[in-house]
């Protein structure tokens, strides 16, 4: 079997397991290439319709292109789009200038907490991948979060073959990661094969492109000439630079990502 077929099969299997196990399931959509691929797989898993809401955590600092893309495809794909913003924190003027850890926690993690409290989600589909970051390499496909929203990375549940953790007392929700086993290259190869739309920021303009997108304030483009998907794949074949090297929140110190994730960050 072709590798992409195998990856796709596994992801669809996971998405359906999640849908079977959780009453209140939602997919998190950051509008990046990974979560857009995740939505594409959801559409495939359920024959063209995504039967659960799609949640966008909006920090209000996202690129304009991201908002446009979100609204266009939410309409085209008939998604039930929910936008979560931590309005209180925004009113207090929280931003990334002073403290990135605090900014991410307030505008992403806490916004997510509020959304979960409001909608009562017990399962969340996320498009994170193991090869993005060493901390994400430690994740499970089905990963529980406790009452304080914490990721207990020191004591994760066992996960054998295709048996996954479903809910137990004490967990607020379970995160499901159907793309965990994909690499950045796999995603781009799949985007090419399936002709999945993506935000233009990933294409090189004036010799620079974004490899990973999020808030305008904390993402920087990398030097690149890759303007097409083929170029991007070719670029990744030779590059050993990290995918999230343009993401400021990963770099404050070696363990910022671990701290963020332990508190409930994506």
């Amino acid at each position: 079997m072709d590798k992409l077929d195998e990856l796709e099969n596994q992801s669809i299997y996971l998405i359906r397991e999640a849908y079977y196990h959780f009453r209140k399931l939602a997919a998190m959509w950051s509008i990046g290439k990974d979560s857009t691929t995740l939505l594409w797989l959801c559409r495939k898993a359920f024959f063209g319709r995504v039967p659960f809401p799609v949640l966008h955590i909006d920090t209000s600092f996202k690129f304009e292109q991201i908002y446009r893309f979100r609204d266009e495809y939410a309409r085209k794909w008939k998604l039930k789009l929910l936008v979560a913003r931590n309005e209180q924190a925004l009113a207090r003027g929280v931003n990334s200038e002073n403290n990135k850890l605090q900014c991410c926690t307030e505008l992403k993690t806490n916004a997510l907490k509020q959304a979960i409290a409001r909608h009562g989600f017990d399962g969340l589909l996320l498009g994170i991948r193991r090869d993005e970051h060493g901390i994400r390499a430690k994740e499970r496909y089905f990963s529980p979060r406790d009452g304080q929203f914490k990721w207990n990375y020191q004591d994760q549940p066992p996960e054998l073959w295709d048996q996954y953790k479903s809910r137990t007392a004490g967990d607020t929700h379970i995160r499901i990661h159907p793309l965990l086993h994909w690499t950045e290259k796999d995603v781009w190869r799949y985007v090419k094969r399936e002709d999945i739309p993506f935000v233009e920021l990933y294409r090189a303009r004036d010799g620079r492109r974004y490899r990973s997108i999020g808030c305008q304030t904390c993402c920087s483009p990398v030097p690149s000439q890759a303007a097409t998907v083929d170029d991007i794949i070719a670029e990744l074949e030779t590059s050993t630079a990290g995918e999230r090297e343009g993401r400021a929140q990963d770099k404050e110190d070696a363990y910022t990502m671990q701290k963020l994730r332990a508190l409930g960050y994506m």
Binding site: I12, Y19, G134, P158, Y255
Partner: protein
């Protein structure tokens, strides 16, 4: 060109060098980014120690300060022909559940042994676990040869010991390699210190591994994951575990034991004729017209799903939809149908339903 895809797990006792081996392996094959190395150098400097290759995978702060692996991690490596997934497993006794979590995903294992320390309880336990999990392919790496002066006698003695251990758990290693993850001897680079060893290096030994083969000739097993209703048609969805399925095929539904006939097979883009656990190249839509709309695909009377308590002797299975067969339906039609869709009542109620080939003699055992 389809690429081969192979997952292997690195196991062995605590401190025998599993994470270091993987870090060294990635470093010597040029798979690590400069920025990644820079971070590791800084962390090591902060802890006042030499560059530690294990930190490539040991990413938790607790792992780095205690210098042990706590949880399993996976990393990716590409050779000229293959994409590898390397699964690091913790060696510590307390983290066996994390080790089997990693190992259950692998189709091959690499067992590490510190020649200076010899066989440990955890070496035995891991060898046994790997065998228990059904992993058939094994490479043994006798690590830390630098600590015993690259002595051939030690290597031969350890080979004998590990050989008899593996015999106990009914495994035969594809290779036993004397190596040093710390110095890089026989990992990627052939060692100058051990001219007496003519076998493969670690990277060469990976070529001995075979990707997992899903055998179509095995009996059909399709665990039903869920049932969806689309445009009045009920679809049992699942992923083929083994064998193949085609329209018109007689199948048996376990555990009720009812016989049924496959009416239609569908994938996302439309109906298909057959699906197999293995090679998708065999699969082609039955008709030349493509694609048939799902609403046209229904032929025959409405079907009851799940099967009722008093089963008819033969029942048409509404739609055995399988996951393994997407590729055959390329290219994707320009616009996908958006069917009316709702979720059917799930019949499982704690029991699992499997669609199997009718000749399978032991289907009772599935209940």
């Amino acid at each position: 060109m389809p690429r081969e895809y192979l997952k292997f797990v690195v196991v062995g006792s605590v401190d025998h060098g599993k994470s270091t081996l993987i870090g060294r392996f990635l470093y010597d094959t040029g798979s690590l980014g400069e920025a990644q190395l820079q971070v590791i150098r800084e962390v090591c400097r902060g802890q006042g120690q030499e560059v530690e290759f294990a930190f490539v995978l040991d990413h938790l702060a607790e792992e780095r300060s205690k210098r042990i692996t706590i949880d399993t991690a996976q990393t990716f490596f590409s050779s000229g022909t293959r994409d590898y997934v390397i699964i690091d497993a913790p060696g510590h006794k307390e983290f066996v559940k994390n080790m089997i979590t990693g190992a259950s995903q692998a189709s091959a294992a690499m067992l590490l042994l510190d020649v200076h320390e010899g066989l440990r309880e955890q070496t035995r336990r891991h060898a046994y676990m790997v065998s228990l999990l059904g992993i058939k392919q094994l490479i043994v790496v006798l690590n830390k040869m630098d600590r015993v002066g690259y002595a051939r006698g030690v290597f031969e003695d350890m080979s004998r010991q590990i050989g008899s251990l593996l015999e106990e758990v009914r495994m035969g290693p594809l290779a036993i390699i004397p190596a040093s993850a710390l110095t890089g001897d026989n990992i990627v680079r052939r060692s100058q210190q051990m001219p007496w060893y003519a076998g493969p290096t670690v990277v060469e030994a990976l070529d001995l591994l075979q990707p997992r083969i899903t055998d179509e000739s095995l009996p059909l097993r399709l665990p039903v994951q869920d049932v969806y209703e689309i445009e009045g048609q009920q679809l049992a969805v699942g992923r083929l575990a083994s064998g193949s399925v085609s329209t018109g095929q007689k199948v048996r539904i376990c555990p009720t034991g009812e016989c049924a006939e496959v009416d239609t097979l569908r994938k996302f883009e439309g109906p298909i004729a057959a699906a197999a656990a293995g090679c998708p190249a065999r699969l082609r839509p039955a008709s030349s017209g493509w694609p048939r709309r799902p609403s046209n695909a229904a032929n025959g009377s409405p079907c009851a799903w799940p099967p009722r308590r008093s089963p008819a002797p033969s029942r048409r299975l509404p739609t055995g939809w399988t996951r393994a067969a997407w590729k055959c339906c390329k290219p994707t039609p320009p616009s996908w149908p958006t069917p009316r869709w709702r979720r059917s009542r799930w019949p499982r109620n704690g029991q699992s339903i499997t669609i199997a080939s009718p000749e399978s003699p032991k289907w009772d055992a599935w209940s």
